[in-house]
Subunit: 403 residues, 2 copies
């Protein structure tokens, strides 16, 4: 069995490393006689790399080589990854990807293409790095109707929030530290503004609820507005601030999805997920809550997930795995503002005016500001109510979850 | 596709309930036209049960019915479950079980029988209730050489320890509360003495490391000797006491396995696993640490795992899933006392004598006793050292883990 890797960056080179390091056990588990890495496609040169004899620059060599039955796509980005993957599937080759942008934008379509050509399109590495999550959802929880899925899906932002919470670094300082440690890129927008988490919750929601949810349907808010004052107030309420991606099935069959900073309980499963770790919670009608935890990014953890998919492709070389991820439905994703929740509110002004509208609120004050947590109601109503409190200026609101 | 359930107790009736409740989505996911529950085998009568028309008492009806292709075994106990399962597999029927005693004692043999007859023997529900763990280990982490597996594997003991830690109930009171809540049986021995956890760590170790580990090879100690004094001392050291099942691959290829109370870090992943919840940590060479968390027992969570296996059997009706779980090797399991670790020690007598042997020890005193944590060394050496401290009586030792 021969394979190719497209994209020899961090993840791609990790995949090559794992394939070589654990070659024997991988071959044994795949039930094949051998597994050879024949080509590595990358536009860059790697003259000193021990695998440089396999490097190619022309995609068509892979496409036209009938010996290649599995291709690993670790290029990232939507183009040309999409065109490459699509034509490989049409040519009867299975594809394994770690590319969350590709899966979040084109998952339903590429799964359909794979099905039509009796090959596999697998993407375990696209969410949660090495944490097993795609397969557990699609197989182990198959007896459940899944009601909710939520998670700390981005290691960079979780590292920054951890430093703000544990070491009282402000956002900018924590971000610079993340960049210094190699956890954040020089342009950190995709991470800190929640775009990366948004792609991942799209993949999870599509898989859990059965119809494609697209990134532009998901309310997405990052962590750049979270202040140390918010962190301190949250602690007074026994809470911790985490950036969560969340999706929920409503009783009418529609779904709501969002990415935003949230308050979680200090004793809950998410609170102790620190540094670059990720955690994903799935709530099923039969099982209740199940959580998955581990390193959500990084060369080798992500490579671990890619290689597990490669083994699965090798084992299932004559059949297509069923994911139950269908094309989008109209009016399927609904506005997150209608979802009932409690809000944490940080404000300035007349504390007492709060008690007229929220008589049960416990108010904490510090540094000329105060904070409280509202009762649960639709977020739209709560925001309307908050906008008309005389003498009070709301500085920020953060969703309070039951996680 | 027709199936039978053997054993209509808590789990078996839960399986029937889930099969009926989520019938349509289960059929869709299994890729079959239908899935009918044809027989329920139980020696008891259930005259008022809505499914009483399917009740039978003669096992041979199932064995000899060629329409039955999948049988769910939720009888528990080794006999006659073992004989029944063995003959069903030999007759070409796939078997799904939640019976940890059966899998821990006969797993390798029954997997071999299944392979020889080209059917499946699946047991996701035997560890961690509904938490997906067997399939993630055997599939998602397939790119890894697994180095360690450890977990809070028993909900009853975790509930008792939680009550001791959070509510300062002593062991006997906490046990009675567990019994009152239906979490502990009237004879709680299998839970509190670690026998249940032992069976589960055998299954996990066999699966992770490739060769059968039997319950009698595993050092097993329960929680009945843990005192509130231990809980309080542990807290002073920033630790929490949990009953862990642990197995580890040594550099010489052998493994060590044990079940015992352990000290875990208050900020670690195990510390926040409270009440009847379970959590399992897998440490792989590529992925690092991955954790799985959820309800480790209970009717519906366990049924969820059984039904996921039923769906998998239906999808794989023409091939045997490979687990890489082989018959036991000689001298494969080695003594846990040679494994290096630090020990928590509770003692009475001359505190100062401790500092001669453990100069770096931080000593906490309370109620005429004192406690400290040793340096890391082989447990055998540490116990020898502790036995010869003049003027000191050691009351208890508890392993300190890095989890």
């Amino acid at each position: 069995m021969q394979l190719a890797i497209m994209g020899y960056g961090v993840v791609g080179s990790g995949v090559a490393e794992v394939l070589i390091k654990n070659h024997d056990s991988i071959v044994r588990r795949s039930g094949k006689d051998s597994m050879q890495l024949k080509y590595i496609l990358d536009l860059k040169d790697f003259p000193d790399d021990p695998l440089h004899d396999r490097m190619i620059k022309d995609f068509n060599i892979i496409l036209n080589d009938d010996e290649i039955s599995i291709v690993v796509e670790t290029m990232g980005g939507l183009h040309p990854a999409y065109e490459f993957v699509k034509s490989l599937l049409e040519r009867g080759k299975s594809v394994v990807t770690s590319n969350k942008e590709l899966v979040a934008s084109k998952g339903a379509e590429l799964l359909r293409t794979a099905r039509e050509h009796r090959v596999n399109f697998l993407f375990e590495a696209s969410v949660g790095g090495g944490i097993p999550i795609i397969r557990p959802i699609s197989q182990c929880l198959a007896a459940n109707v899944i009601e909710e899925v939520a998670g700390i899906l981005n290691g960079t932002t979780n590292f920054i929030l951890t430093k703000m919470i544990d070491d009282k670094l402000d956002f900018d300082t924590a971000l610079r530290l993340a960049q210094k440690n190699g956890y954040a890129e020089s342009d950190p927008t995709a991470d800190i503004e929640g775009i990366d988490s948004c792609r991942k919750i799209c993949i999870l929601a599509s898989l859990c609820f059965g119809y494609h949810v697209y990134p532009d349907q998901v309310y997405t808010q990052g962590i750049s507005d979270v202040t140390l004052q918010d962190v301190a107030f949250a602690h007074k309420f026994g809470k911790v601030i985490k950036l969560l991606g969340m999706a929920k099935k409503l009783s009418d069959g529609r779904v709501t999805a969002s990415v935003r900073p949230c308050l979680v309980d200090e004793s809950g499963q998410f609170a102790n997920v620190t540094d670059v770790f990720n955690s994903i919670l799935v709530r099923g009608d039969v099982i209740g809550d199940v959580c998955f935890y581990g390193r959500g990014a990084g060369k080798l953890p992500t490579a671990s997930a890619v290689v597990a998919d490669v083994i699965d492709c090798a084992k299932h070389s004559d059949r297509t795995k069923i994911f139950g991820w269908n094309d989008a439905k109209e009016n399927y994703v609904t506005d997150h503002l209608d979802d009932p929740c409690a809000l944490y509110v940080r404000a300035q002004g007349d504390e007492k005016a709060i008690l007229d509208l929220f008589p049960a609120a416990e108010i904490a004050s510090s540094g000329g500001e105060f904070a409280f947590i509202t009762d649960a109601a639709s977020e739209r109503e709560l925001l309307a109510k908050l906008s008309r409190i005389p003498g009070v200026t709301v500085k920020s609101t953060i969703k309070v979850t039951d996680y």
